[in-house]
């Protein structure tokens, strides 16, 4: 069992990580992937705001820095260990019961599609206390509602240290929205995630 003692004192078994990032996000995601060790296999979803063009090239680029399998999920694809998922540009990415992805073309939420809030809220409903949410650098408030909802459902939330973020409004908004568990520089967030995975298991 991959159980970990969290700073909140709760025993956690992390089954999914959802990360939200906007301006400056690509660089911190690279830092994250470079830092994650071989044993890290927790399925991880990155919702990155991008220009709405057809093919972003982001997964191909991130794949160079990691042992994880990087992909843009297809609709109704199952969530699997060892995968790092990047939300496709111009769709909302939702997590549905049965632990599958669902895409949606709902109008942008607060000008964002994909919306970090929507991904996090839907993930919290399915994964409850087994979910970790992270908000990284970005120039708006997307993710704040999402992490509030994750906390309400018993999940764990980490936010990138605003002073370190390329643009600090997104981390600040998340911190203002709820009692987040930890505020850390990117490398420390990566280490924390690794420790969640350290309990072993495939």
């Amino acid at each position: 069992m991959n159980q970990q003692e969290c700073s909140s004192g709760l025993i956690k078994q992390v089954e999914l990580v959802v990360i939200g990032a906007s301006s400056g996000g690509l660089d911190v995601l690279i830092t994250l992937l470079k830092t994650l060790p071989e044993h890290y296999r927790i399925p991880t979803v990155a919702v990155l705001h991008q220009r709405p063009n057809r093919s972003s090239g982001v997964p191909e680029m991130l794949a160079k820095y990691t042992h994880l399998q990087v992909q843009e999920p297809e609709d109704k694809q199952g969530i699997e260990a060892g995968c790092f998922y990047v939300a496709p540009p111009n769709y909302h990415l939702l997590i549905d019961s049965g632990k599958v992805f669902s895409l949606s073309l709902d109008a942008p939420l607060n000008f964002c599609r994909p919306s970090i809030d929507m991904a996090m809220e839907s993930a919290a409903e399915v994964y409850q206390q087994h979910l970790v949410g992270c908000v990284l650098t970005g120039a708006n408030a997307d993710g704040a509602e999402g992490v509030r909802y994750i906390k309400e459902n018993g999940g764990y939330v980490m936010v990138q240290e605003p002073a370190e973020a390329t643009v600090d409004s997104m981390p600040k908004a998340a911190i203002a929205a709820t009692e987040v568990d930890e505020i850390l520089p990117m490398v420390r967030i990566a280490e924390r995630l690794s420790s969640f995975a350290a309990g072993g298991q495939s």
Binding site: R54, K76, H92, M118, Q128
Partner: protein, 280 residues
């Protein structure tokens, strides 16, 4: 996860949404029971907050009594966002690889399922006219939502959509200019009436209605994403039975036939554009 039981248990809200969907089916025949829950629940929650309703069971109470309210509610459940020539690569593949094969047919029938406000059907009609097939083709454009169909048959759109429409048209390999097919007025543009002649807009529910016979092409884009896997399979079978052997199937850019029962009865004309041909 059985021992902590938590992951499989539904919250109060979720349970009430399940009951609501069941009630709408039993009472009025609206069948949203097999729709993807994540986005469905969001839209229920949205409707409730707009209408100051606290719980889905209160909403249910009202909707089983009031058909009109229910029609209004159901309209809000579907996502109707669309564009002219959305995903230009799709239309490019149709133009370059499908049209040449369709030319051999004396008469061409195309079904756009889930056409929303009609942009997709008009885009196809423009393409067919440019390729000289306009007179030979009939487009059946259907949707569950009668309100969007009314808008579709008017063919009048807001001019804030125009820039994207022009750009998409060009990227889709448009031969002249989009402006040859529309007239631009004050804050609106309207589709040339000539393009409408061969389009039939009509209501059709993919979940509860029947096969739409012998099509040369079925296009259903960004509708299946709102369905659960089992319903996707069912609807794809409906399309299969509506398609001529050798007919073409067009899906949304993020939808696929992969690991669905019909997968091997199609060959990909262009995998990334999601254009397939029925071979069995």
């Amino acid at each position: 996860m059985a021992q902590d039981g938590k992951l499989d248990q539904l919250s109060e809200f979720e349970v009430e949404v399940e009951c609501l969907m069941q009630a709408l089916y039993l009472r009025w025949g609206y069948d949203f029971r097999e729709y993807s829950r994540a986005s469905l629940r969001r839209r229920v929650a949205r409707y409730m907050s707009d209408n100051h309703i606290l719980r889905p069971c209160d909403l249910q109470h009202e909707l089983v009594r009031d058909k009109k309210r229910c029609v209004h509610f159901v309209r809000g459940l579907t996502v109707n966002v669309t564009d002219m020539f959305r995903d230009p690569v799709f239309y490019r593949v149709i133009r370059e690889q499908v049209i040449p094969e369709l030319r051999s047919h004396p008469f061409i029938k195309i079904w756009h399922a889930g056409c929303s406000t009609g942009e997709e059907a008009y885009s196809m009609s423009i393409l067919l006219h440019e390729e000289g097939l306009g007179e030979r083709a009939v487009i059946y454009a259907t949707d569950i939502n009668s309100q969007v169909l009314d808008q579709a048959s008017k063919g009048v759109y807001h001019d804030k959509m125009l820039a994207t429409a022009r750009e998409n048209y060009r990227d889709a390999g448009g031969k002249s200019g989009l402006d040859d097919f529309i007239s631009v007025g004050y804050e609106r543009f309207l589709i040339d009436p000539g393009l409408k002649k061969n389009i039939v807009f009509t209501q059709h529910d993919l979940v509860t209605d029947q096969v739409f016979g012998e099509m040369q092409m079925v296009i259903c884009r960004n509708v299946l994403i709102y369905f659960r896997r089992e319903l996707q399979t069912k609807v794809l079978t409906l399309f299969h039975n509506s398609l001529d052997l050798g007919g073409f199937l067009g899906l949304g850019i993020k939808e696929s036939l992969r690991s669905l029962p019909n997968e091997f009865r199609y060959k990909a004309i262009d995998e990334s554009a999601r254009v397939f041909q029925r071979i069995d």
